[in-house]
Protein backbone atom coordinates (compact mmCIF):
# COMPACT_ATOMS: atom_id res chain seq x y z
CA UNK A 1 0.00 0.00 0.00
CA UNK A 2 1.27 3.40 -0.92
CA UNK A 3 0.86 6.03 1.74
CA UNK A 4 -0.65 9.02 -0.01
CA UNK A 5 1.56 11.41 1.92
CA UNK A 6 4.62 9.34 0.94
CA UNK A 7 5.49 8.57 4.55
CA UNK A 8 7.74 5.66 5.36
CA UNK A 9 6.40 2.37 6.64
CA UNK A 10 6.89 1.97 10.38
CA UNK A 11 9.30 -0.98 9.99
CA UNK A 12 12.84 0.13 10.75
CA UNK A 13 15.33 -0.36 7.93
CA UNK A 14 18.13 -2.60 9.07
CA UNK A 15 21.71 -1.94 8.03
CA UNK A 16 23.92 -4.77 6.77
CA UNK A 17 26.60 -3.39 9.09
CA UNK A 18 24.45 -3.45 12.21
CA UNK A 19 26.59 -4.47 15.18
CA UNK A 20 29.77 -4.54 13.08
CA UNK A 21 30.99 -0.99 13.56
CA UNK A 22 33.21 -0.26 16.51
CA UNK A 23 33.70 3.47 16.85
CA UNK A 24 37.07 4.84 17.88
CA UNK A 25 40.54 5.55 16.56
CA UNK A 26 42.64 2.78 15.09
CA UNK A 27 45.87 2.13 13.22
CA UNK A 28 48.70 4.60 12.92
CA UNK A 29 47.08 7.40 14.94
CA UNK A 30 50.11 9.12 16.52
CA UNK A 31 48.85 12.36 15.02
CA UNK A 32 45.40 13.21 13.67
CA UNK A 33 43.75 10.34 11.76
CA UNK A 34 44.14 10.62 7.97
CA UNK A 35 40.84 8.86 7.35
CA UNK A 36 37.35 9.03 8.80
CA UNK A 37 34.91 6.23 7.95
CA UNK A 38 31.20 6.10 8.58
CA UNK A 39 28.20 4.26 7.30
CA UNK A 40 25.57 6.27 5.45
CA UNK A 41 22.34 4.87 6.79
CA UNK A 42 19.42 4.85 6.31
CA UNK A 43 19.30 6.06 2.71
CA UNK A 44 16.62 6.15 0.06
CA UNK A 45 18.31 4.81 -3.07
CA UNK A 46 16.20 4.74 -6.20
CA UNK A 47 17.26 3.65 -9.67
CA UNK A 48 15.58 5.42 -12.54
CA UNK A 49 15.99 4.39 -16.15
CA UNK A 50 14.46 5.61 -19.38
CA UNK A 51 14.40 3.57 -22.56
CA UNK A 52 15.28 6.47 -24.82
CA UNK A 53 17.15 9.67 -24.03
CA UNK A 54 14.90 11.37 -21.46
CA UNK A 55 12.00 13.46 -22.72
CA UNK A 56 11.22 17.00 -21.61
CA UNK A 57 8.34 15.88 -19.37
CA UNK A 58 10.61 13.50 -17.50
CA UNK A 59 13.29 16.13 -17.05
CA UNK A 60 10.68 18.61 -15.80
CA UNK A 61 9.40 16.17 -13.18
CA UNK A 62 12.91 15.67 -11.81
CA UNK A 63 13.55 19.40 -11.88
CA UNK A 64 10.30 20.07 -9.99
CA UNK A 65 10.94 17.37 -7.39
CA UNK A 66 14.56 18.16 -6.60
CA UNK A 67 15.16 21.67 -8.00
CA UNK A 68 18.00 20.50 -10.22
CA UNK A 69 18.41 18.46 -13.40
CA UNK A 70 19.55 14.89 -13.90
CA UNK A 71 23.22 14.76 -14.90
CA UNK A 72 23.49 13.76 -18.55
CA UNK A 73 27.28 13.49 -18.78
CA UNK A 74 28.85 10.11 -17.94
CA UNK A 75 30.71 9.84 -14.62
CA UNK A 76 29.04 12.89 -13.11
CA UNK A 77 26.47 13.60 -10.41
CA UNK A 78 24.46 16.60 -9.30
CA UNK A 79 23.28 17.40 -5.83
CA UNK A 80 21.35 19.70 -3.57
CA UNK A 81 21.80 19.86 0.21
CA UNK A 82 19.69 16.78 0.56
CA UNK A 83 19.55 14.76 -2.64
CA UNK A 84 22.19 13.53 -5.05
CA UNK A 85 21.51 12.14 -8.52
CA UNK A 86 24.29 10.02 -9.95
CA UNK A 87 24.78 8.97 -13.59
CA UNK A 88 25.18 5.18 -13.63
CA UNK A 89 24.81 4.40 -17.32
CA UNK A 90 23.21 5.72 -20.49
CA UNK A 91 19.73 6.98 -19.50
CA UNK A 92 20.15 5.52 -16.00
CA UNK A 93 20.52 7.27 -12.66
CA UNK A 94 20.67 6.59 -8.96
CA UNK A 95 18.80 9.03 -6.76
CA UNK A 96 20.10 9.09 -3.20
CA UNK A 97 18.97 10.95 -0.11
CA UNK A 98 18.80 10.35 3.64
CA UNK A 99 15.64 8.32 4.09
CA UNK A 100 12.77 10.51 5.24
CA UNK A 101 9.99 9.70 2.76
CA UNK A 102 8.78 7.06 0.33
CA UNK A 103 10.87 8.41 -2.55
CA UNK A 104 10.03 5.65 -5.05
CA UNK A 105 6.26 6.17 -4.78
CA UNK A 106 6.69 9.92 -4.86
CA UNK A 107 8.65 9.85 -8.12
CA UNK A 108 6.39 7.19 -9.62
CA UNK A 109 3.32 9.31 -8.93
CA UNK A 110 4.82 12.29 -10.76
CA UNK A 111 6.13 10.74 -13.97
CA UNK A 112 3.45 10.41 -16.61
CA UNK A 113 5.35 8.82 -19.48
CA UNK A 114 5.44 5.03 -19.61
CA UNK A 115 8.88 4.18 -21.02
CA UNK A 116 10.79 4.36 -17.77
CA UNK A 117 11.55 1.96 -14.97
CA UNK A 118 12.00 2.75 -11.33
CA UNK A 119 13.49 0.38 -8.77
CA UNK A 120 13.84 0.97 -5.05
CA UNK A 121 17.37 -0.13 -4.13
CA UNK A 122 17.40 1.31 -0.61
CA UNK A 123 17.64 -2.13 0.92
CA UNK A 124 19.82 -3.57 -1.84
CA UNK A 125 22.74 -1.18 -1.47
CA UNK A 126 24.99 -0.22 1.38
CA UNK A 127 26.96 2.98 1.46
CA UNK A 128 29.95 4.15 3.42
CA UNK A 129 31.43 7.64 3.55
CA UNK A 130 35.18 8.30 3.65
CA UNK A 131 36.65 11.62 4.65
CA UNK A 132 40.06 12.93 5.70
CA UNK A 133 43.19 14.22 3.99
CA UNK A 134 44.41 10.72 2.98
CA UNK A 135 41.11 9.68 1.34
CA UNK A 136 42.34 9.87 -2.25
CA UNK A 137 45.44 7.84 -1.37
CA UNK A 138 43.23 5.20 0.20
CA UNK A 139 40.98 5.03 -2.88
CA UNK A 140 44.05 4.56 -5.09
CA UNK A 141 44.92 1.40 -3.21
CA UNK A 142 41.64 -0.21 -4.28
CA UNK A 143 40.86 1.03 -7.78
CA UNK A 144 42.76 1.63 -11.02
CA UNK A 145 41.28 5.09 -11.40
CA UNK A 146 43.01 8.47 -11.47
CA UNK A 147 41.86 10.12 -8.21
CA UNK A 148 44.06 13.20 -8.56
CA UNK A 149 42.02 16.24 -7.42
CA UNK A 150 42.58 17.95 -10.77
CA UNK A 151 41.17 14.94 -12.61
CA UNK A 152 38.61 13.47 -10.21
CA UNK A 153 36.64 16.60 -9.45
CA UNK A 154 33.88 17.23 -6.91
CA UNK A 155 30.61 15.64 -8.12
CA UNK A 156 32.59 13.26 -10.32
CA UNK A 157 31.67 9.56 -9.93
CA UNK A 158 32.87 6.21 -11.25
CA UNK A 159 31.63 2.69 -11.27
CA UNK A 160 34.59 0.41 -11.05
CA UNK A 161 36.07 -2.46 -9.10
CA UNK A 162 37.21 -1.37 -5.65
CA UNK A 163 39.27 -4.02 -3.85
CA UNK A 164 37.73 -6.44 -6.39
CA UNK A 165 34.17 -5.41 -5.47
CA UNK A 166 31.87 -3.72 -7.98
CA UNK A 167 31.40 -0.29 -6.48
CA UNK A 168 30.11 3.17 -7.27
CA UNK A 169 32.41 5.89 -5.96
CA UNK A 170 31.21 9.47 -5.79
CA UNK A 171 33.17 12.59 -4.83
CA UNK A 172 31.18 14.95 -2.56
CA UNK A 173 33.94 17.31 -1.57
CA UNK A 174 37.70 17.63 -1.98
CA UNK A 175 38.44 14.76 0.43
CA UNK A 176 34.98 13.38 0.95
CA UNK A 177 33.68 10.38 -0.98
CA UNK A 178 30.72 8.03 -0.79
CA UNK A 179 30.99 4.42 -1.88
CA UNK A 180 27.94 2.37 -2.82
CA UNK A 181 28.02 -1.38 -2.96
CA UNK A 182 25.64 -4.35 -3.12
CA UNK A 183 24.35 -4.98 0.38
CA UNK A 184 25.87 -8.46 0.67
CA UNK A 185 29.36 -7.02 0.25
CA UNK A 186 28.99 -4.30 2.88
CA UNK A 187 31.02 -5.98 5.59
CA UNK A 188 33.73 -7.00 3.13
CA UNK A 189 34.02 -3.40 1.95
CA UNK A 190 34.03 -2.07 5.49
CA UNK A 191 36.83 -4.40 6.53
CA UNK A 192 38.87 -3.74 3.39
CA UNK A 193 38.61 0.00 3.89
CA UNK A 194 39.63 -0.38 7.53
CA UNK A 195 42.62 -2.48 6.55
CA UNK A 196 43.66 -0.02 3.85
CA UNK A 197 43.29 2.90 6.28
CA UNK A 198 45.52 1.44 8.99
CA UNK A 199 48.71 3.02 7.72
CA UNK A 200 47.05 6.47 7.66
CA UNK A 201 45.36 6.12 11.03
CA UNK A 202 41.57 6.17 10.96
CA UNK A 203 38.56 7.02 13.02
CA UNK A 204 35.23 5.24 12.66
CA UNK A 205 32.24 7.39 13.44
Amino acid sequence: MVDKDYNLPSIKRQSALDGQIESGRFGNCKTEPGIFIEENHPLSIVQLETREPPQKDFLNVIQNLFNFDVPLAPNTSKASDKTRIIWTGPNRWLIVEPETRDLTSLIKSQIKETSFSIVDLSHARSSIGIDGFMTRDLLLKGAAIDFHPEVFLVDHCVQTTFFNLSALICCLDENRFNIFIARGFALDLWQKVQEAAEEFGYETL
Partner: protein, 96 residues
Amino acid sequence: MIRIKCPYCGLRDHSEFNYIGDATKLRPINPELANDDEWFDYIYIRDNPRGVHQEYWQHISGCRSYVKVLRDTVTHEVLKTGLPSDDLLFSYEAEK
Protein backbone atom coordinates in the same frame (compact mmCIF):
# COMPACT_ATOMS: atom_id res chain seq x y z
CA MET B 1 47.02 -5.34 -18.78
CA ILE B 2 44.59 -4.63 -21.58
CA ARG B 3 42.85 -1.29 -21.33
CA ILE B 4 39.52 -0.76 -23.05
CA LYS B 5 37.92 2.57 -23.78
CA CYS B 6 34.22 2.40 -22.91
CA PRO B 7 32.35 4.85 -25.18
CA TYR B 8 30.62 6.20 -22.07
CA CYS B 9 32.98 5.86 -19.10
CA GLY B 10 36.35 6.29 -20.79
CA LEU B 11 39.54 4.25 -20.56
CA ARG B 12 39.36 1.45 -17.98
CA ASP B 13 41.19 -1.74 -17.10
CA HIS B 14 39.90 -4.83 -18.85
CA SER B 15 39.16 -6.38 -15.45
CA GLU B 16 36.06 -4.16 -15.38
CA PHE B 17 34.80 -5.88 -18.54
CA ASN B 18 33.40 -9.29 -19.40
CA TYR B 19 34.17 -10.83 -22.75
CA ILE B 20 30.91 -11.52 -24.56
CA GLY B 21 31.96 -12.95 -27.91
CA ASP B 22 32.59 -12.66 -31.61
CA ALA B 23 30.91 -9.53 -33.00
CA THR B 24 31.10 -10.62 -36.61
CA LYS B 25 28.39 -13.29 -36.32
CA LEU B 26 25.01 -12.16 -37.58
CA ARG B 27 21.71 -13.68 -36.53
CA PRO B 28 19.83 -15.22 -39.49
CA ILE B 29 17.94 -12.40 -41.18
CA ASN B 30 14.71 -14.42 -41.36
CA PRO B 31 14.79 -16.51 -38.16
CA GLU B 32 11.57 -18.33 -39.09
CA LEU B 33 13.00 -19.43 -42.43
CA ALA B 34 16.51 -20.35 -41.25
CA ASN B 35 17.33 -24.04 -41.33
CA ASP B 36 19.22 -26.05 -38.72
CA ASP B 37 22.58 -25.62 -40.47
CA GLU B 38 22.23 -21.84 -40.42
CA TRP B 39 21.33 -21.87 -36.71
CA PHE B 40 24.18 -24.26 -35.96
CA ASP B 41 26.57 -21.96 -37.75
CA TYR B 42 25.27 -18.86 -35.95
CA ILE B 43 25.40 -20.43 -32.49
CA TYR B 44 28.47 -22.67 -32.55
CA ILE B 45 30.83 -21.99 -35.43
CA ARG B 46 33.52 -19.42 -34.71
CA ASP B 47 36.64 -18.51 -36.63
CA ASN B 48 39.85 -18.31 -34.67
CA PRO B 49 41.60 -15.51 -36.53
CA ARG B 50 45.21 -14.53 -36.05
CA GLY B 51 45.26 -10.74 -36.02
CA VAL B 52 42.45 -8.22 -36.07
CA HIS B 53 39.21 -9.42 -34.49
CA GLN B 54 35.95 -7.58 -33.85
CA GLU B 55 34.30 -8.61 -30.60
CA TYR B 56 31.73 -7.64 -27.96
CA TRP B 57 32.68 -6.86 -24.39
CA GLN B 58 30.43 -5.68 -21.59
CA HIS B 59 31.42 -2.99 -19.11
CA ILE B 60 30.06 -5.13 -16.32
CA SER B 61 31.63 -3.32 -13.35
CA GLY B 62 30.92 0.06 -14.90
CA CYS B 63 27.95 1.31 -16.89
CA ARG B 64 26.93 -2.24 -17.95
CA SER B 65 26.81 -1.23 -21.61
CA TYR B 66 27.98 -3.46 -24.43
CA VAL B 67 31.14 -2.21 -26.10
CA LYS B 68 32.48 -3.26 -29.47
CA VAL B 69 36.23 -3.82 -29.45
CA LEU B 70 38.65 -4.29 -32.32
CA ARG B 71 41.52 -6.30 -30.88
CA ASP B 72 44.64 -7.90 -32.30
CA THR B 73 44.55 -11.50 -31.12
CA VAL B 74 48.34 -11.81 -31.42
CA THR B 75 49.46 -8.70 -29.54
CA HIS B 76 46.24 -8.10 -27.53
CA GLU B 77 46.48 -4.49 -28.66
CA VAL B 78 43.07 -2.79 -28.56
CA LEU B 79 42.94 -1.00 -31.89
CA LYS B 80 39.55 0.63 -31.63
CA THR B 81 36.39 0.61 -29.50
CA GLY B 82 32.88 1.88 -30.07
CA LEU B 83 29.17 1.33 -29.65
CA PRO B 84 27.71 -2.08 -30.53
CA SER B 85 26.28 -0.61 -33.73
CA ASP B 86 29.65 0.70 -34.97
CA ASP B 87 31.53 -1.09 -37.75
CA LEU B 88 35.02 -0.77 -36.30
CA LEU B 89 36.72 -2.88 -38.91
CA PHE B 90 35.44 -0.62 -41.67
CA SER B 91 36.56 2.59 -39.97
CA TYR B 92 39.89 1.03 -38.97
CA GLU B 93 40.63 -0.01 -42.56
CA ALA B 94 39.52 3.41 -43.82
CA GLU B 95 41.87 5.21 -41.43
CA LYS B 96 44.87 3.06 -42.30
